[in-house]
Symmetry: D2
Subunit: 488 residues, 4 copies
């Protein structure tokens, strides 16, 4: 159809290499919607007649129905879904009508319109999943606000925290992921339609009208920018990659905590898998897979950035490579978030093991040093040094903070006199977490406060999400209404 | 100093591998400011006495002066700049005073505070440079709004555009880069100080006060999130990487246009370089280098994402690797933008060559098809096919659109009758761009309109930038004021 | 089947996330072959009886036939293809026979065996395609060894070269790509089977025998290394990524040369595409797409490296993510090479345009300087400076090297006297390339010599390739023979 | 010096952006050597006189001495080190002599020569470090060949292995890393000198002679390939990135094993660091940093690949960006390997804890199933199912394999009768590892055998390395000898 200028058809090898018909099915409905809006605009601007427009739209509806019924068989030799649909429209209602559909439009702006329509929906889907995971984490934060566990730095017991504190930290990270996705959405939901090939057109189109019919927030001002740029793709991929880096962190924690050595957590049986050879195995596959699938999303980001590097302005065919990594990344991320959410919901939290793990460690050493600062008026660095020596000596005698007599004796050598009961009191992990006073600390009170703030944030974001979804629905309805009006 | 718990000093090999003293000099002043704010807070909260605080701050000022005079010689064996400074403070005013500086603080939150203080300044610097480049592009857009040139898709002449239209498209892209940088800034300019190691502290600190003294917009709610997360680093790097992808596009255009074959643009002699062997060469090195340095920034992003992948929560030493790629990327980007700006300012735009390049091409073919739609009432696809055949036949006879008689004859064979003068008129590239009507098209009028809108946007952003800068200045002054008050 | 230890079946969500049944179909036949070899070994070592082995192998053959006939319907709920096949074998010949197939084996070593069997075949396929492309380039090198064109540095005309010289350079690059692929093959074609889960087994297996049956070059010595390592995947991906970087360079040249400004090359009509809006367009899509698909392969490499980063030893489920990027990258590369080959074969080389392009440039300046060194006994740097000034003055008067009188006059001012005929002679591009003397230079003689060497290299590699292919075929036959023997 | 063709000097901003003087110091000596070889060749081929050559070489020696004494102050305004040196030579011995040094050479081939000379030395350095680390691992393998520990899959106890088996697996991985480095070396150690700008030269140079003087294995056949290609850089970076992925795995193991929960290993005090706030901390920083620095090397690879993507053939200034990531990656890798080696050498292996960790797990379940296959003639899948149920029931009653009475009773319910002593025997982890029979298994005997093979391999590679080093030394001596001959 587009080969009037050529002496030959396209080589089958090149067609196999360059064709996108299968991948394009992903945004079939978006393509139909985009064409409906375009045709409505052409009629409104009297570029084609209302009658012509009505005919074309009827055809599009037929094709759409066929597609829904699984009866639309695209022809791979027609390069992509757009030419397939135009071809069908021409076939069905004749060149005199169908031949007018592509007036004042290029595939360049058409494909980008479809991509953006589909992408915005996918972003909303990921956001929804993340909000749910955040909710789950906040429920854990509230429920376990006072259940102590070791806090780690360098994978070493550092200071006592609570499991709720841990959960709230992840909920807090996800807030920023949601913001990044929401920011990306703003750069996605703007309309390229009408930019045509790269220069706009001499037809008196109304780009604002099509943008409105399609629920876009605005029109992209420059036609050349509209067809050349894929930064919205890279921005989305970057937001997803960063989100996955957070999920990979969460996964790492969960994999470690499922181990024999930690036993802090146990996934439900339906969220674990076995081995083909080792009968005893219960594996936290789901967390491993989320961690592993981080690679897909990093790879997708790198793919997109590579495609964009060093391309001249204007449309280049390389840009066709924007969608494969995008849909892949979105699919993987959405599923990863959902799996993580379901896994956490069903997991058993072994509070006792977490608590026990603090019994023989030295994680309250900082609190002892702080106590010496407060009560013995030592400079912190002095108190730190005394406590460090205490630990060194205890370790060399295989003693712990539970050996109060030894602690007392060793401290005494440093000139620090302190009662037995006070030692026990200071070094108690549970009391320690209750003693934290600073904003955002691991004290149960602060955990609840943080969780409450984040929950409010979560609700606000859910509201925003709903608003965006509603705007899309309203635009769909407006398009339907305008189609009806056209026919009257 | 931190090795009270160890029997031995640190191995020189490990010190070489892990020490950061040299790199830390980058944020020396930020570290001092952070310590001042922290000590002021400790005094305000009566965790240490005003007198102690005064002594420490005096010491810090001395060290800062020394550093400014190039006389501060950090000791590499003390791991990093933070321990160096604390060590100096203790040396100078004794353990009784200096030993109190690190009360209720860890290096974990301290380093992150310094990083964020420095990073926000660097981001503002990049934004400033981008605003200037955008200004330059908009000046070009206005000056050349009507100077025609070929618009390219697939590196083929597609449709006539104007050089101003091209310049405005890049200005439009940069607007989104600025937004991404500004969004990243929001996630950067929040305060981790007071998170301590990961759990907060039992001292009654006032985190909001230190945040205010340091000009942060807010406190990071969760201590664990504050020390574990580097998404603000990755987000900044991603924004920079995407910006570089846009600059690499701009570079590619400029390199091509500097070639013998295009001759659309010529860099000033002071922005070009020669060859060591070929006497005649004048190379557009600067654009090539910007394109090449895109690799540094992509690499930096991948580095950061790799570091973050699969790390458990809490601080891990791997995270130290966040700053090297960050400072590197920021430095490269700031310079790349400045070089691009200076290069464009001095470049000679060869309007004549651009225009001539349209003389023998077929880039007004779309306009001819559009004309047939409008005047001959053909369906677009029909008009498209007729025009395609016309081009095919002209090419086979080595004719162009300038051969009006041939055009007329060939069109006539397709049943399209059209006068000589009309053919000339339609196929004239200059007239073509004036005929574009759609919003955001390459018509001189639209170019001016887009440029005006973007200029208003540019001014608004410059205002925002100034506000952020002022807030930082005000915070510095507030710190100074509080120090004075402390002494009275 | 593997859930005897669990109270519940696997969650459908987790199954969707973790299952690999569809992707595994890629190496169905390899899995069957691997199982046949394994079972033959079990019988040979009297771990199971010959009778048992015979039964199992019969079943495997049935399933294989079904698969070939498109009748094998794997059950997605059985996680992967391996469990599906084992399940079918047990179903068909009963637990007493089928239950023995997985003796002394784990999925860990099984999957890796399948992956390596499939991967080696794919690598050979890519190598074959590259050899063909290299052949095509060498044919071009020979045919056009004396057809002059501008050689570029910094996209500026640098010195005259020949089109054959250009083609030979790419053939030379591909030789190293072939070596890298061949090196990767060596790390691929070693046998993990028998490593079991990670520790080997207490059954007296014969790993060398299975390796031989499967055509592997050797056994991987350490079982833990065998199941933990994916460096063979990363090495293959890296070889492919570097190959694509070379193809992206070739693509860039071809895209530029297809442009209106260059017109050095024109793809055949069946290897070019049109526009949906611009009737005149003939786009070099194929080269653009190869360039764009470079991103897929870079992304795949980054994905694999990300997965491997920071994983502990032993098998982790993350490693399942090795195959998706691998098959994807191999498929894209093989097709890219084939498309490039077909595109070049059909392309029209516009020798005249290439030659003309040298008429008004200064690309023989270096030869002039060299001449002054040889004939006028000037130091090269002096000759260089004189020639540089000459070009500067010619440019300022809009003259070229063709303006012999001016050249003579300007040189004379620098004290260099040189006859008209000599100037013409020295500055003639065609004569210039014939004057090159150094090994590997652009002189037609050297081009032919380089091409001949590379062709010999190409033939030797093709021989190597055939040997590897034959070894695989021989192993397949050996397996069949052993199966027959088993039955007697 | 190279600006005879320009009206103006280079802009200071561009100079800051593009200059490489500081970075070039890295290969100062290589540049001098390269120039010496080039000048010797020019004299040998009578392109310049022996007298001229002698003078130039004298100058080069002077400059080299100055540099060694720290007195050579390069001028940043002269772009790079090459122009600096040529300029000094001209200054010192006059244009009549010094002006001849750059005859038949371009910076394009000169820089690449320097890069390759330096790079090959760096690769040998990395290989040397890796060989040493491999040696250390093999010593551990031998020493601990029979010291049992849990083998992990999915971070779950899988089967008993020995610490020696673990160490040998890493030694086995490193063998392939060494091979990849050695393969990269072959593509590095070939000579581009004499390719000049891209086309070779009309001077009768002898490229084979300079290649020999510089210790290269061969000459790069095509001049255009020689100056356009950076695949040797990418290949080296890829080999380093894969090596780092292996080190990151090793690091992850060591970080986990240093934790409170594992306590399998303890770094020496001089290879651990403390906290600024928590007095008790002993952190495995060194392993964390190696893991983190993996990001630098991945980033460097991605940087290089990005630079190469889509560049046209011929030299482009982007290619200057090849060295920064290369030197960075090599430095980081060499240090990482050395640190890992030293860390392992000093670490304490807690054999008792490793063994104890097997006391209450189910890691011998596979051996029980295997036993049932062997002694009770069950099909493996049946035995697997029975053992799986056994574990399930034991877990539900909080029993372990040590509870022999329960094991016996439960097995009996499945119809399996087995004596108490036999149960104890089968389920004993120490006996289990001795029972492994397969090639490459975790049995102490196999561990020793694997280690012995790898040690032989290590020695052979060390020999190869020495040979390459000797060849370089011999070439240096030959150059000195030829210089002496020149003077006589």
């Amino acid at each position: 159809m587009l080969r009037g200028r050529f002496a030959e058809g396209i080589s089958p090898l090149l067609l196999e290499f360059s064709g996108t018909v299968q991948g394009d099915l992903e945004f079939f409905y978006e393509d139909v919607w985009g064409s409906q809006a375009h045709v409505l605009m052409l009629a409104k601007q009297v570029i084609i007649s209302k009658h012509d427009a009505g005919k074309i739209i009827e055809c599009l509806e037929d094709i759409s129905e066929e597609f829904g019924a699984g009866q639309f068989k695209p022809d791979s030799s027609l390069e992509d879904i757009h030419i397939n649909i135009e071809n069908r429209v021409i076939d069905e209602c004749g060149m005199d009508f169908g031949g007018k559909m592509h007036t004042a439009r290029s595939r360049n702006d058409q494909v980008l319109t479809d991509t953006r329509l589909h992408l915005r929906q996918e972003i909303l889907g990921v956001e929804e999943a993340v909000l749910e995971l955040q909710n789950t984490l906040l429920a854990l934060a509230n429920k376990h606000s006072a259940d102590v566990m070791p806090g780690y730095t360098h994978m070493q017991h550092a200071q006592p925290i609570t499991f709720g504190f841990w959960a709230a930290a992840y909920a807090s990270m996800l807030s920023r992921d949601l913001e990044r996705l929401s920011n990306a959405y703003k750069h996605v939901n703007v309309c390229p339609l009408g930019a045509c090939a790269l220069a706009g057109t001499s037809f008196p189109t109304d780009r604002k009208y099509t943008a409105k019919l399609l629920g876009f927030d605005d029109v992209i001002p420059s036609a050349l920018d509209a067809v050349s740029s894929r930064d919205f793709v890279a921005e989305t991929a970057a937001a997803l990659a960063i989100l996955m880096s957070n999920l990979s962190k969460l996964s790492e924690d969960l994999v470690l905590w499922s181990s024999f050595e930690f036993k802090f957590i146990e996934f439900a049986d339906d969220f674990a898998t076995g081995s083909s050879i080792m009968p005893q195995k219960k594996n936290p596959d789901m967390a491993e897979l989320v961690r592993g699938k981080t690679g897909r999303v990093y790879g997708a980001l790198m793919q997109i950035l590579t495609v964009m590097k060093g391309l001249p302005s204007g449309y280049n065919r390389d840009l066709q490579e924007d969608r494969e990594p995008l849909w892949k990344a979105l699919g993987v991320v959405k599923l990863s978030v959902a799996v993580m959410d379901a896994g956490l919901k069903g997991a058993k939290i072994n509070k006792e093991n977490m608590k026990e793990s603090l019994d023989t460690d030295f994680s309250t050493a900082t609190e002892l040093a702080n106590h010496l600062v407060r009560e013995k008026k030592l400079a912190f660095r002095e108190a730190y040094t005394i406590t460090g020596s205490l630990v060194k000596e205890l370790v060399s005698h295989k003693k712990t903070f539970r050996d109060v007599v030894d602690v007392k004796k060793i401290l005494s050598k440093s000139g620090v006199e302190i009662a037995d009961w006070e030692i026990s009191d200071i070094l108690d992990p549970v009391k320690s977490v209750h003693r934290y006073k600073s904003l955002g600390s691991a004290s149960p009170k602060e955990v609840k406060r943080i969780a409450a703030d984040l929950l409010a944030d979560n609700k606000a974001r859910a509201g925003e999400l709903k608003k965006r979804q509603s705007k899309i629905e309203a635009a769909k309805e407006l398009t339907m209404k305008e189609i009806k009006l056209l026919r009257t």
